[in-house]
């Protein structure tokens, strides 16, 4: 077994363990932490596949930003477990049907007969000067430029939509204008008055 293979099995082991722990843990914050561990293991496997740009972006975007916001929301939520379990039996049949369908579909696509060296050819190792980021950029900005730009515009629209849904002018609410606060000068706030003191002599 080569060093790469040992690393692959270590990462895969922790990937599977962390994913299972994420599903089975009862504490939402711990579940998020296990999800982060599984992201890290996935990033390790991607680096072994010479896709280092994707691995770093996975950590940067998902671990560094998305999961932080997940933890943020979980800390603010007051999760009451009794209300979550209240209609458990009512939802059980429908949930079971959906779960069985999903498992069946995934088995069709991700079954053992879809993988293996006889189905997918083993990836060729590149030389040391192979740059994943250059190849990816060339693909994105030449062959897939329209889909790339479309995706960007779609995300922009989603951002604008989310902001317009939340952002509204509040009435009956005191607001601060930070621009006015910054522009304020000493003479706007402080008035120096010279008062003539009358009896200076008798202190």
């Amino acid at each position: 077994m080569t060093f790469d293979q040992i690393l692959f099995y270590v990462f895969s082991f922790w990937f599977i363990v962390a994913s299972l722990a994420m599903i089975f843990s009862r504490n939402a914050a711990k579940a998020v932490l296990f999800l982060i561990l599984s992201f890290f293991s996935a990033a390790g496997i991607w680096i072994l596949l010479e896709a280092e740009f994707l691995a770093i972006i996975l950590i940067l975007v998902y671990v560094g930003a998305v999961m932080v916001l997940f933890l943020f929301v979980i800390k603010m939520l007051n999760i009451d477990k009794s209300t979550l379990r209240a209609r458990f039996t009512g939802y059980l049949p429908l949930g079971l049907i959906v779960a069985v369908i999903i498992v069946f579909e995934m088995a069709m696509v991700l079954g053992y007969n879809q993988f293996g060296l006889d189905v997918v050819v083993a990836p060729v190792k590149h030389t040391a000067d192979y740059s994943n980021i250059t190849i990816l950029a060339l693909q994105l900005y030449t062959d897939y430029i329209y889909s790339f730009e479309l995706a960007a515009v779609l995300l922009l629209i989603a951002i604008i939509a989310a902001i317009t849904l939340v952002h509204r002018k509040r009435i009956n609410c005191k607001n601060q204008s930070i621009v006015d606060q910054i522009k304020v000068q000493a003479k706007d706030r402080v008035r120096l008055v010279s008062i003539s003191s009358k009896n200076k002599e008798n202190k």
Partner: protein, 354 residues
């Protein structure tokens, strides 16, 4: 070098292959981390001393000559203090939090080039690695706040999480301009692209980005005037309220290691890394040719480390909403405008930078 290798090989025949490479990585890591921790220790001493002089005080001067042994005394004190666990705290996460704070703060140093060919790892994507590992550091603070099961740490952690996420975007955009000029995300190549004298350093074409980067670095490291995460006067001590002894010291180490890192990164990205400022000036270049590059790098970064302390002693704390406004309404538009400016400069080849 090869003689040393042969000598080692004769002495220890089994020292080869994976064992040797792992041992070399370990030696490199130790050679990096030990001086780093020493610098961190004496940076805290410098901080107390410099801020002391700025406020017309003397600062620590009791332990050892002129107080030079003060950091060692502090370290001994912190190590012997008891770690108190809050009774309703989540013990595992409570102990995991300082580890998650210090681990990225040290790991991030792996890609820093100190001189031509002196680094632990020469990654192709080292700038992205810096961004990715830097974004992981926030978990230490968030978990510390959440696991303490106390209200002030939680408030501090919430502030920290939102600040970090906002300012990472600003830093990311500011670094994109550097990548556009250098044409590489490898820190080594970025420094090499700034070779050839003071005028080739990137702080000239990217002056606004340099300012934005330095200010954002203050936010990312939770330093004054943006230290709302700790905010003594508002939320007692923020995320560190429930921590004592070595558990607190680890957070402290992580914060200072991050500060030093940000200073070094600023030098590498905008101030020519290990290159001498006298390059291209005939007499001065020859006169200072004997100075190794690592000295220049450290000298330049010491100035930015001093800047942290200077700013801390000078400015009052920002209000939380003003920091948020600064990020989203001031810095982000500026960075996006400057990306276009840099794109134009690259297109029309203005200046010696492209």
């Amino acid at each position: 070098m090869t003689e040393i290798w042969q000598w080692i090989h004769e002495l220890l025949p089994w020292f080869d292959g994976i064992v040797a490479s792992i041992a070399i990585i370990l030696i490199k890591a130790i050679a990096l981390v030990m001086p780093l921790m020493l610098v961190v220790a004496y940076f805290t001493y410098a901080e107390r001393k410099i801020i002391g002089y700025m406020q017309l005080r003397i600062g620590p001067n009791r332990v050892g000559p002129k107080g030079w042994l003060q950091p060692i005394a502090d370290a001994l004190k912190l190590m012997t203090k008891e770690i108190i666990f809050p009774s309703k705290a989540n013990i595992y996460l409570f102990l995991l939090a300082p580890v998650l704070a210090i681990a990225p703060a040290i790991t991030i140093w792996a890609v820093i080039p100190f001189d031509e060919g002196i680094y632990v790892a020469n990654l192709d994507i080292s700038l992205l690695y810096v961004l990715a590992i830097g974004s992981v550091g926030v978990y230490g603070i968030i978990l510390a706040g959440w696991a303490s099961n106390s209200k002030y740490p939680l408030l501090g952690a919430l502030r920290s999480a939102s600040l970090m996420v906002s300012y990472e975007i600003v830093i990311g955009f500011a670094l994109i301009t550097v990548v556009m000029i250098a044409g590489s995300v490898n820190l080594n190549d970025i420094v090499m692209a700034q070779k050839g004298g003071l005028l080739n350093w990137y702080f000239i074409p990217l002056f606004p980005m340099m300012i934005i980067f330095l200010i954002s670095a203050l936010v990312e490291t939770n330093r004054a005037p943006f230290d709302v995460v700790e905010g003594e006067s508002e939320i007692v001590g923020g995320t560190h309220v429930e921590y004592s002894g070595m558990a607190f010291a680890v957070f402290f180490l992580a914060e200072y290691a991050n500060m030093i890192f940000m200073a070094v990164l600023a030098v590498i990205l905008f101030f020519g890394g290990w290159h001498s400022p006298f390059e291209g000036i005939s007499y001065l270049e020859a006169g200072f040719a004997w100075v190794p590059g690592i000295i220049w790098l450290l000298a330049k970064s010491s100035f930015f480390m001093f800047l942290y302390l200077w700013v801390r002693a000078t400015l009052p704390r920002f209000r939380y909403d003003q920091i948020m406004r600064l990020s989203w309404k001031v810095f982000l538009p500026w960075t996006i405008v400057w990306i276009f400016v840099v794109a134009l400069m690259t297109q029309f080849k203005i200046g010696p930078w492209f």
